[in-house]
Symmetry: D3
Subunit: 238 residues, 6 copies
């Protein structure tokens, strides 16, 4: 049994509130345990200059200083850059960028993931929540006629798994205390019914075998299935 | 009647949720109409080097990019610097800094005011909400024995008033549309039952007379009284 | 009697030298006591991108490192940003921006206020001096046919007043020592014969009442009248 | 057959020149095909302030502007930050940080990986080469008596593999043209005879299955074995 | 005859006002033609950390934006860095740094050279004026007992010379128009009665011979003699 | 005899490898003693905005952190800015910028000089090596028809000379130890058979006479002759 009463394959209590920020084209508040992230999605007129056709999806990730104890810095630093690149790649894998191209030219969708409270798993929560925000933004672009075809391929979600403690227990959805005690930590991003987008396994406090990796990927599969259901309910109700 | 159905001397629908961010020493979510600000207060060991005795209270102010439509920049720029200096001065006026000095030396309290949705009045909402966060942080410093005496003088709150439109109607608590149409815009910061801390009146689209100023200050008085009540309820229930 | 022999309602010895910097379109050196500011005004081809019609007036404010004892930093920081926004708003209130629009398109006037020696009141001296520099620049734009109509509404000037010391004496035009001892400090910006543009009252070391505010505004009125005369003489002689 | 004549499981022509930079404590030039990286390792007196005991190993990664065509920027940006964090984690997994602690206190080893020419695989070449530089630095710290025990656990190396083109061919050690055509790209970092340290699989242009992942990890195994041999020869001869 | 009526070996009309900025330990306003530079010298407690004994003299150089037409940037950029390093080297050559070491430890003197109007020759005017400011600062350190021995070796001054126009006329003390037309431009820094400190000859628009160099150095000698006299008068009267 | 066995007028062992970086339009590795610099030259479409006609040649200079012992910073700082301006001026003196203008408009050539190991004389080695890189780039622009006429005037090279130690021995091509012991240090840049481009003599630890300058320039002449031969061989063989 884990400190918070969960079994190894349990997700934390999770919810997604779509449309949490009225000013944004799309938005969601995702809560998983004590981790909370505000995700917004907005369209910008100017896609990156190196794009020759089609649109783009990019992400920004930051933490409010008050999200952690002790208080953090406002500068996301190298860690923030690494995370926002991961989020951006995950979202792009779930979208047909060629269809983000309307009468007004190609569209760049910016997803801001701002962590308002952090207790582990902020990068995976950001991806799962950003998909709901992005999806709401795409619905509005379609409704407003700014794009003609739905660019969504399938939902994308992410979850963390890890081998924790001396016993190397395989645990799903690590909270901060578990993450700090993890020998191996694996973030898995997948597109529903299609396959994996990103697998990032890191052994900060030890190495891992191919068998460890298989065990962790199995565990992630179950978590992802639940998250896809949560996303679908949020989008349907949004 | 104003666009949102309010009378000239009406505040917007407002609420303060104390303890909104569990990771922070003190925190609050303040909502006034569609404007929402997360305020957190944390103690830092190192007060500014130029302080010779006593503690310090400082503020940081920023907006999430998704808080406005169109999406804003992550760089708070000159406007953000101007606002956070105003918030800091307001909070310091409500605290006896000499008493922010414990066994472990002087304490610096940092109040982060992060706007998650913006519809006018973000700087005044930040001050009103930050007081609740700061107050909760002080309660915990007292409870933990880190300071011996309560440094609070009295609550501080802030409200905006303005002369709006061709008719120069004096309105309380301007939303964004009203603010954009204001000839004169006045931010008033006061410490309950003690007096004014800051009066910042600006005529971006016109000048104003001493009589205008008096009329606006009268209007602010009523709003501040309601905000002190709202703060007291939040602190009592927090 | 004040330390420098002035009565409470006396300005410091002041002068304005128009055309102090030959390289600039407009310029002035303003001296008030030991405070000296070089103000220059120049036209830039590119007004801010968000302007849809009409011109713009903006300000930059900085202090030379040698202007203070001990030596200051070259980075104007948050304080500098706050001050230059105040200067910019004050100047814009005295100009009809729609008329800053010539055959070559809208014109952006940049006023640089560089403090070469600082003894209190640098922000108000900057506004008063920048008006003379701006006025000279406008004369040259008119003479050169770059704008067709005079955009000046009326002169703008500024002065500081404060309640100083235990006796809360109301004093005009605070020098640095008085400013450091001020309970309340009020900066007043006004357009001649039209009204107030900006009123910024701050109680860093105490609060203030509506009666205090009235008393200080009365005191400012007298100082502003003298400064308008000084400006007029400088402009006539420039 | 690949464009450069290699079979799918072939590494590019590779070499490691140890001691390439005489000024550094440890160094190596690694060449793999047209990719070349200068790796240097130096000891710094000041480990990160948050370390309570033991030493640290960190990495910096950059590209010379002339390393790519067209010329690149000197700012490594988000991509550079992501890569140098990966390199640092890989190297730390191969070192017992507690033993980086000598008479003079804990030691921080900084590995600079500067790409002088880039043709794909710069991050994996950086790790493989940095190990040789780090190893030489550790030999000198031991020889000089600055540390008492050898902190090396086992060599660490890295290689990229990918599924390329419409046929989703599994290829080892992608050059730039192959990398640009990859559906899935996987970087694998391993400690010899111990296990995996980092597995980063990304589907920028498509998703991948568990079976794809297995096939790619098998392919990486062969490449890593060759790289460990290359490192051993370089270290023996250095 | 030059455009401003000077003969080839004539300096521009020049003056040095010592003590121009009362807030600084030492200061001077140097005017040469339309070029004007405010020089201040201040003592800082903390000399550079790499100094093992003795004090230090360093310089900062910047231009006010209004000093040139068109208006310049506030960022001194690479040109400013290059110039301030030249000024610093010149001043250090005139001072025995070992004697900048008092009871309170080594002293670092910072000379700020801020150009308020620029018409060529700002770097050489900065050196010549900074010596007067530095000299006044040293007098005060001696008078205040902060240093025991006079660290001055002899005055340092600087002048520009150049070969101008198609005729390659050798001219002393170039104004901006002459500088822009110069084939070769030479800055000469010398310590009175001791020798040269710095000779920087540049052929931006052509090359130069050893004979050209000799001719220019002869011309500089005469200008430097006059500048040493001007400095001596300023210091005597200051 | 010098520490490394050289006579006063001997260059260090030197070589230039042209085409060292295949990705660049032009490149060279220059080695002189233990100093090594990678020079690359690339064409950029956008010359500086202030150019009205003709092309431009500019330089960037940096050191890898591992190039020095102790490890250096990645920020080139003021010293780097000063050096890259010197390199740029030297290269421009050897090129007719009007001829850097093709069918596609004016061309800006950027020469990156990255020091991979530093033992004195990095700025002069950068100029000498950059000429070979630039020359290769120009050959390719001519071969590709991007420019019609050869813009090269003649080769440019640079060398350092100095008066070293108590005996003020005049030495050619100072290594780091000699440079640190130099009373006077002179960098000489010349265009073959045309004349001097830049003469920068600095007395950091003493002054120098006109006779000293002559003696050093004579010594430089011999070194430059050898370097022009080395360049010619490299360009012929490249």
């Amino acid at each position: 049994m884990r400190d918070d009463g969960r079994r190894p394959a349990d997700l934390r209590q999770a919810s997604i509130v779509p449309g949490f920020i009225g000013a944004a084209l799309g938005s969601a508040l995702i809560t998983t345990g004590r981790t909370r992230v505000i995700c917004t999605a907005n369209a910008e007129e100017r896609p990156p200059s190196w794009l020759t056709s089609g649109g783009w999806v990019t992400a920004q990730y930051a933490m409010l200083p008050g999200a952690t104890s002790p208080r953090g810095s406002r500068d996301p630093g190298g860690r923030g850059k690494e995370i926002q690149r991961l989020i951006g790649r995950g979202l792009r894998a779930a979208v047909d960028l060629r269809k983000l191209n309307g009468a007004g030219g190609p569209i760049s969708l910016v997803c801001d993931c701002d962590v308002i409270e952090a207790d582990g798993g902020t990068r995976t929560a950001s991806i799962t929540g950003a998909w709901v925000a992005l999806s709401q933004a795409i619905d509005r672009l379609l409704a407003g006629g700014r794009i003609a075809e739905d660019p969504r391929l399938a939902p994308v979600a992410a979850v963390s798994v890890g081998l924790v403690g001396e016993g190397r227990d395989a645990l799903l959805d690590l909270c901060y205390v578990e993450d700090a005690a993890a020998i191996v930590d694996l973030n898995v991003v997948a597109v529903q019914a299609r396959g994996l987008v990103e697998v990032q396994g890191t052994g900060e406090h030890g190495v891992f075998s191919r068998a460890d990796l298989d065990r962790l990927l199995d565990l992630a599969d179950g978590g992802l299935a639940e998250l896809f259901t949560l996303q679908a309910r949020a989008i349907a109700g949004g």
